[in-house]
Amino acid sequence: MTSAERVRPLTATHRHRLGVLALVFAAAFFAAAALAEGRLLFDAELWVQQRVQAERSPRLERPMRVASLLGSGGVLVAAAAVACLVLWRRQRRLTLALAAIAATGYLASDLAKLVAIRQRPNTVMWAFPSAHTFGIVIFLGMLIYLLWALDVSPGRRRLATVAGALAVVAVAGSRLYLNAHWVGDVIGGVAGGAAFVLAGVLVIDRRLGAVRAGAESPTRRLDTVAG
């Protein structure tokens, strides 16, 4: 690892907190899945769906479709690819990790659909969890981690976090508005995506930490001197 590739490591406290948060989100995801599968909160979900659908107007259709597009697989994969291209020269390992998270996240959002089998409000299958929300949360999580790991100034980080959070809210809201999901699916998407990205960040940090440790080990230093 060259000096240009150095990324800020997580402290033990960070790792502990992120681990606990990942477990909490994973538990929330499975709880939401159980509620969805058993239709235990269906009346509440129906109530939300009715209220949202009652507010539909032609003026909002296009903005909502655009917002929904932000969380679609095509846009997220394209955005991740652009981020990888930008980072590739300076942060190869981090770029590869980002690509791995994007690919496994895409796969995970599909596999997560097997956890609860139910129909969407528009009767199409695979309602839970909302893959759009799942995907945008992973993207936002990775963005926050990247900015933090690359030591970007706190002001910019805050700006990116707020913009990302707004994107998550827009995507989640648009999925409800477009009658593509129940509110439980969207909550499941947020929880599942958050659990996945937190676990992903922990894995990346551990892998990069191992590489750092390898780079700084005495044998490696001797090899470098001998070379």
Partner: protein, 371 residues
């Protein structure tokens, strides 16, 4: 004027909200309508309750479409198998429900998907009731005479009694399973139901079984047609009944031809009879002005069924999801609904049904072809 609730079917809803399920009636109707019209259509205030579907004046042809895929069903089955193992079999009932939800939810007619509303807990309850009421006493009747070395006459009498009980339980299970499944099936928010009496079907079944045995199988076409007539003509979609006007004697000739050709064709003539029976049953089924049609060819049915069995055996069961999907796509490819599908005057008329019959069908390990 009192109207039925569009969600739960309660008949006497006079206010804005249904006193039973609490749904805002006008809002619910408007959202259903929006769902059907799609998001691009202009949105109107949720004022007059719209019809369930625009009545079609001209006679048209509709098809059922299955959107599911082998990998999708395989994923569900894989997780089901894992959870069933981890829970020592308890998850089996939820697994069954998940597969049905998937299959029904991926089946579309006229732009809307079917829905399955059964739950694993209901199936578990049904199974527990059946086990307590039927299975344990029957098991005791079979085991106790052996344990206490009862006289041979007693054992023979008990065997006959058990056979008789079995003969009676099969039709009870068939009706119960059909009642349960239809009551948990919906299309466009309207539930199906089954209103046939158990006693009537037990009569058809027992008489049919005995006559089929006495006539060395010649009564079989009449028997299966009577069974089909009972199962179809007692089925309802909301408040409207399905009709069946087939007669058993119409299948007698194809059945005799099948028997004559059975040995020369090494049993393959069965598939041609099976396809003929399927076409006949389908073509004699009506829903209002809509008549069902099927053009399933015998050769293709034979190929489908034989290749499915071979695939399941060779893959040790792993190909099962693909065979299910293949079977459904095959059936729907040759099935169509002719005539106007006017469901505007169909209203919710759901009937309660317990899962006991379904549990009995599960315990007897028989699907009975009534799904």
């Amino acid at each position: 004027m009192a109207e039925p609730c569009p969600r739960c079917g309660r008949a006497d809803v006079t206010g804005d909200r249904c006193p039973q399920c609490g749904v805002a009636v006008a809002l619910f109707r408007a959202s259903l309508d929006k769902l059907r019209r799609g998001p691009a259509a202009p949105v109107a205030a949720p004022a007059p309750p719209p019809p369930l579907a625009p009545p079609t004046a001209a006679a048209t042809s509709r098809r059922l479409v299955f959107h599911g895929s082998g990998p999708g069903l395989f994923g569900i089955q894989a997780l089901n198998a894992l959870l069933t193992l981890l829970t020592l079999g308890v998850f089996y009932f939820w697994a069954k429900t998940r597969v049905r939800r998937y299959v029904y939810g991926e089946t579309e007619l006229d732009g809307d998907r079917f829905g399955y509303h059964g739950t694993g807990r209901e199936l578990l309850g049904g199974f527990a009731r059946v086990a307590a009421v039927f299975f344990i006493p029957i098991a005791l009747c079979s085991v106790l005479p052996e344990v206490y070395q009862a006289p041979d006459e007693v054992k023979a009498a008990l065997r006959r009694l058990l056979w008789l009980i079995g003969l009676l339980l099969v039709p009870v299970a068939m009706v119960g399973a059909r009642r349960y499944r239809l009551s948990r099936t919906s299309w466009r928010g309207i539930r199906f139901s089954f209103r046939g009496g158990v006693r009537e079907f037990v009569g058809i079944f027992v008489v049919g079984t005995i006559l089929t045995s006495l006539t060395l199988g010649l009564y079989y076409p009449v028997f299966i047609t009577q069974r089909q007539a009972f199962m179809i003509s007692n089925a309802y979609f909301g408040s409207r009944k399905l009709d069946f006007d087939g007669r058993g004697r119409d299948l007698m000739r194809p059945f005799l031809v099948m028997i004559l050709l059975f040995l020369p064709t090494l049993g393959l003539s069965w598939f041609w009879f099976s396809a003929r029976r399927h076409r006949y049953f389908t073509e004699h089924t009506r829903f209002g002005l809509t008549r069902f049609r099927s053009s399933v060819p015998g050769g293709r049915l034979a190929w489908l069924q034989i290749s499915n069995v071979v695939a399941v055996v060779l893959t040790l069961g792993l190909a099962w999801p693909w065979t299910v999907v293949r079977g459904l796509r095959f059936t729907f490819r040759y099935l169509r609904l002719d005539g106007p599908l006017d469901v505007a005057d169909v209203h919710q008329d759901a009937r309660a049904a317990s899962a006991t019959g379904e549990g009995l069908a599960g315990l007897l390990d028989a699907d009975f072809g009534v799904s």
